[in-house]
């Protein structure tokens, strides 16, 4: 019976503790939970770019084709900067697996860490440790909490992507008709924010004749997306355009349409990889789709890191720096650097891109 008594004591203890209050979420709100930003110092726009900088890339996980293109662009830039390129990363995209890699990079005294955070907060304490050690931290793809990085390379603004998707859909539909969206998962943050912008755009008078009939979810699974595309076309015989803002969805939908009687009648557009979409563009299934150039993301991140490390910029809003072939960039609010509007791919230009 002592066992039961023990449990009872524990439960009573817990209740007693809760009764006398303590540290709660609301009582800690407003407290600075992260280490203070490193003393920024003053930016010197004329400082020369340092050579021999050690720039390390830590993507969400290794061996992902999209990531490979991104860090490939970074490798090119680090070469141009005459720096030392390094790529490390976990094989799984779990929240905490990146932390030991950051710790290792601190020990190796890298100058810049370019990281796509699997969890915005889990990496924070170690990124701040890195910054205390004088390492500049640039995030790309997935930002870490603002308090623990110097700059964030955003591939495009949510607004820009949403607008571009509606613009393409409208052009393909000839300004009026039924459109449908084939997204990834119902809770994918980036997908949902783009869809939100699309809805706002569709509500505007100039798009009044476009009707969004359905948002389907293919879960970023090829087979599921294929079936969902098929379902959309069967349920909505007047459908003119399927917009798929995910590389898996757009490829699956194109594969279905290209082999079906809908080919030429229903347009597919969205966000896709040129190498995956090339054959559908060539066979006429897809007239246009868009994406940012992932290689440019990695490329821009290296130049931003080098500019930070050389003291040209500190990450404050309004500072400018040159990013090699991409030209000049200005840092936006919260240290955000936007790569630019997405690139539209058509039969005319698709052969210029290899990723």
């Amino acid at each position: 019976m002592t066992q039961r008594k023990n449990l009872a004591v524990l439960a009573v203890l817990a209740l007693a503790l809760s009764a006398c209050g303590g540290t709660t979420k609301s009582s800690t709100e407003g407290q600075d939970t992260a280490a203070p930003a490193t003393t920024a110092g003053k930016a010197d726009p004329n400082a020369p770019l340092k050579e021999g900088l050690k720039i390390a890339y830590l993507p969400k996980q290794l061996n992902n084709p999209y990531t490979d293109v991104e860090v490939g662009g970074g490798k090119v830039a680090v070469g141009e900067l005459k720096g030392e390129y390094k790529l490390v990363g976990p094989n799984d995209a779990s929240a905490s697996s990146q932390v030991s890699y950051i710790n290792t990079l601190i020990q190796q005294q890298q100058n810049v860490i370019v990281v796509a955070a699997n969890d915005p907060n889990a990496v924070c304490p170690s990124l701040n440790q890195a910054r205390k050690a004088g390492i500049k931290v640039v995030t790309f793809d997935s930002d870490a909490a603002k308090t623990c990085r110097d700059a964030f390379i955003n591939q495009a603004t949510t607004q820009g992507i949403g607008e571009s998707l509606v613009k393409m859909a409208s052009e393909l539909a000839g300004g009026s008709g039924e459109i449908a969206i084939l997204s990834a998962t119902p809770n994918a943050t980036n997908q949902n924010s783009w869809i939100q912008v699309m809805k706002t755009e569709l509500a505007k008078p100039e798009n009044a004749k476009l009707k969004l009939v359905k948002i389907a979810y293919g879960n970023d699974d090829d087979q599921k997306s294929f079936t969902e595309a098929q379902g959309l076309l069967q349920s909505y015989p007047n459908l003119k355009v399927i917009v798929s803002p995910t590389t898996v969805g757009i490829a699956a939908a194109s594969r279905y349409v290209s082999a079906s009687s809908y080919k030429g009648k229903v347009a597919i557009t969205g966000l896709g990889l040129p190498n995956q979409m090339r054959k559908f563009v060539k066979d006429g299934t897809v007239k246009k789709f868009a994406l940012w150039n992932p290689a440019d993301i990695g490329y821009l991140a290296a130049y931003a890191g080098a500019a930070l490390s050389s003291g040209q910029i500190t990450g404050a809003q309004g500072e400018k720096f040159k990013a090699g072939k991409l030209g000049e960039y200005t840092i936006g609010a919260d240290g955000e650097i936007v790569l630019g509007p997405p690139t539209e791919f058509t039969a005319a230009n698709i052969d210029q891109f290899n990723f």
Partner: protein, 322 residues
């Protein structure tokens, strides 16, 4: 069991314990001498934090495996504890209540395992594979895909911090205290002798007055409790409560325990070897990463090490018999 056989067995396992500790010490010395930045106090702190969950969960796991059972649900218990911690924190409960509740939750989850294994007499491998999936599933029910951050800095800083201005991480205290508790229980109390007896022969132990069911039940409770604690520490270390925290950790724990010389068939093992096993795995990974060895090579090294650790004692045994 003849006295002679007991003596050779004792000798063999004493040997493996000595061997694994010696290997660990050698690896530490070689790494400190050859790997840049391995021997720094900062790296020592990182190393301790990296092995923390494996180190503490390996302690009750050792006792469970010595009785001839296994608990594969530990990482899922960690994840559920973390998810509940995040949920309660979001619900504006005080952290001083949340932490004991998460420990209690861990103990209850362990008791569920214990109930299935001892009362219903189901094989622990099957039961804990089941609860591995169940507890992880519940964690996602509680918190979904979201992450909860912003835990109080006083707590997160304590977990990642060091004692005063020394380079000794605070969490080392937890590891040492738990290691001493489990070490004493296993090697210096009647409970420990019962653990070995049950692992060697449950029938014989029963005749000797041990109640194997009750013993195992409480070992599962201990395993759950420590896993719950690991969930709390994990959450505070990363300032991030997530349902997928610690996924896959159960294999690392079992690996460390086996590397430490505990027999998967039960009845044999010692805690110092297990602690050496944890340190060896952790420091090898750390040193190889600092040397820029790829993930794939790192996995291969760990795998080879584990196979060797299981083969080693067996081969030695066979050679001795022939």
């Amino acid at each position: 069991m003849s006295a002679e056989l007991t003596a050779t067995r004792a000798a063999r396992f004493a040997n493996w314990n000595v061997a694994i500790i010696a290997i660990t010490v050698v690896v530490l010395i070689v790494a400190a001498a050859t790997v840049d930045n391995f021997g720094t106090s900062q790296n020592f702190g990182f190393l301790v934090l990296d092995v923390l969950p494996i180190a503490i969960i390996a302690l009750p796991m050792t006792l469970v495996i010595v009785t001839g059972e296994i608990d594969l649900s530990v990482a899922s218990t960690l994840g559920l504890s973390s998810a509940v911690m995040g949920y309660l924190w979001n619900a504006n409960q005080p952290i001083e209540t949340i932490i004991p509740l998460c420990l209690l939750l861990g103990a209850v989850l362990g008791a569920v395992n214990g109930f299935f294994v001892t009362v219903l007499g189901l094989p622990s491998l099957a039961v804990t594979i089941g609860t591995l999936a169940l507890y992880r599933g519940l964690a996602f029910v509680v918190l979904g895909d979201s992450a909860v951050a912003d835990f109080p800095p006083a707590y997160t800083n304590w977990v990642t911090g060091t004692i005063g201005s020394s380079p000794i991480p605070n969490v080392l205290i937890i590891i040492v205290v738990l290691a001493v508790v489990f070490g004493v229980v296993l090697h210096a109390t009647p409970i420990g002798r019962a653990v070995f007896a049950v692992g060697a022969s449950e029938q014989a132990a029963r005749f000797a007055g041990v109640r194997p069911g009750r013993l195992k039940f409480w070992l599962y409770v201990a395993s759950g409790l420590v896993s719950g604690l690991a969930g709390v520490l994990w959450t505070l270390r990363y300032s991030s409560a997530r349902a997928d925290n610690g996924a896959g950790l159960e294999l690392a724990v079992v690996a460390a325990v086996l590397l430490g010389g505990v027999s998967i068939f039960g009845g044999k093992g010692a805690l110092p070897g297990v602690i050496a096993g944890v340190v060896l795995l952790g420091s090898l990974q750390n040193a190889l990463r600092l040397s820029d060895v790829s993930n794939e090579a790192l996995n291969v090294v760990t795998g080879v090490l584990l196979i060797a650790s299981v083969l080693g004692p067996n081969l030695a045994n066979r050679l001795r018999r022939t």
